[in-house]
Symmetry: C2
């Protein structure tokens, strides 16, 4: 069994985590928290989303957050951008990377952004062109790759079509999302094995939610296939809009501890990660969903 | 990848779970709970421990529990027995199986039962002989197989020595325990691969604690090697005496849901498992550590 020597962690807590939280974390706390994350050694932070506050009130302060965080030049500070208005904001704030978002489930995409997959791809093309003009790198999310909350079948052919469309737009990294946390290691290996016959493993990041506690098992399956990029959220932030009370993203704490146990390097300092997590817990004032953090904080 | 078609789950919550709980669950609630577990389809329940109430007050009512539960003849009702006095009780209550217990770490065994591994094996031999005379089947736990809470090295040679001693005593099933939840899938595969060169896979059950969230990843590794017996506790009961606030045994709920997703049969009905879990939660009055239950109960 040859696991990768090192992997890159994408900390998505400030964006994918907080967008699912019911409360608004004050801007100054967000900024302090992101600054603590910058100190952990992680090289990629998804800071916020340039989306209308009407859609996601929890991230209404995206401009202020980008203005106030201390940026480390070794770190990529990314933002999710759904449309041309969002690109303007992202350009204004000099984000390092713009993340696009689409679902591989027609029903989920329709419910999420009120458009078909094809319409969404057209819209994202305009966003990508604007980003390309500014030389901003592009990351593309594909959600519900492993199952849809609406039960409609998600076809690998659809996923491949989106990958190809993303590549044509200049996207350099594609994050395959298990939005509802249903994936299992057999499925992960089957889907990845098929994709890796056509695409390079460096193209992909994996984005697992831990709804049913299987995220680390799935990540291990992906590690065995040579995938070296993983999204996670401090304290397992995130929840699931389709399963009230459910766990959220795989927790960065559990993931990093797991990887270090396996001898896989992350460049993340677990002590500093603990500091950033404790800060978040105080700011958010609820028990976080990380088993490692539970051990460390007792 | 050939996974087993079916596995056997050992529900250890009433014993390994409750022995780590701070509160005493009243006997009538324990009995009702165990009766609900019997209805789930699980074929093996570790009901209690015939141990001095001074050691484990939470299980002081082992006689009463065995007297009062409704026993289904298709189910093995087991009890942990540490010494000859315990065997007498177990015989009196007509338990179907006696579980023995020893640690593969000298320091842990010393701390746990105040005896060296060799002394413990001598003591257990007397217990086993008494059980054999009554025709009661024997199960042997080996704890700390994947790491010791005291940091002393656990040698596979020691584990093999205990396995051989157990076999000589007439033990028919051996449960390999990750007492402090540190195991990882690479280690699981390495240790099992080595053991399976000498012993049949049917001999072993695996007993993972989910302290760091890796239990399902470890179980998947064991499934890939053909292991078909797993210990788990409803609601992830258990905790860890060496890590206050930590998660306990892998939760039966998450394990069964995972196995069913993988197409591996368990004979357990998830609806009835939910009923038994909800009953436990009300009896124990705290948030249980199962991701699947969190989804189901919202």
């Amino acid at each position: 069994m040859n696991l990768p020597k090192a992997v890159e962690i994408r900390e998505v807590g400030p964006r994918d985590g907080l967008q699912n939280e019911k409360i608004f974390i004050p801007t100054d706390l967000k900024v302090q928290w992101i600054n603590l994350i910058s100190e952990t050694g992680v090289r990629h932070i998804e800071v916020s989303s340039f989306v209308s506050p009407k859609w996601i009130p929890a991230l209404a302060d995206h401009h202020e957050v980008f203005e106030q965080i201390a940026r480390d030049e070794k770190i990529t500070y990314a933002a999710l951008v759904p449309n041309l208005k969002g690109v303007e904001g992202a350009i204004q704030q000099k984000v390092d990377e713009i993340a696009l978002f689409i679902s591989a489930s027609e029903e989920h995409n329709q419910s999420n952004v009120n458009a078909s997959i094809n319409q969404s791809l057209q819209n994202l093309k305009a966003v990508a062109e604007a980003a390309n003009r500014e030389g901003i790198s592009l990351r593309g999310y594909i959600s519900t790759v492993f199952g849809s909350p609406f039960g409609d079948e998600v076809k690998l052919q659809t996923v491949k079509g989106i990958i190809d469309a993303y590549l044509a737009m200049g996207v350099s990294e594609i994050s395959l999302g298990d939005t509802i946390g249903v994936a299992d290691p057999v499925q992960v290996k089957a889907i990845l094995s098929e994709l890796l016959t056509q695409y390079d493993s460096d193209l992909f990041a994996l984005h697992f939610h831990d709804t049913y506690g299987r995220a680390l098992a799935n990540i291990f399956a992906a590690l065995e296939l040579g995938i070296t990029k993983y999204d996670s959220a401090i304290g397992g932030l995130g929840g699931c809009p389709y399963a009230p009370g459910a766990s959220g993203n795989v927790s960065t704490n559990d993931l990093v501890n797991f990887l270090h146990r396996l001898g896989v390097q992350t460049n993340i300092d677990e002590e500093k990660l603990f500091t950033a997590t404790r800060f978040l817990q105080q700011a958010i004032n609820r028990q976080l969903d990380s088993k490692v953090y539970k051990v460390q904080s007792n």
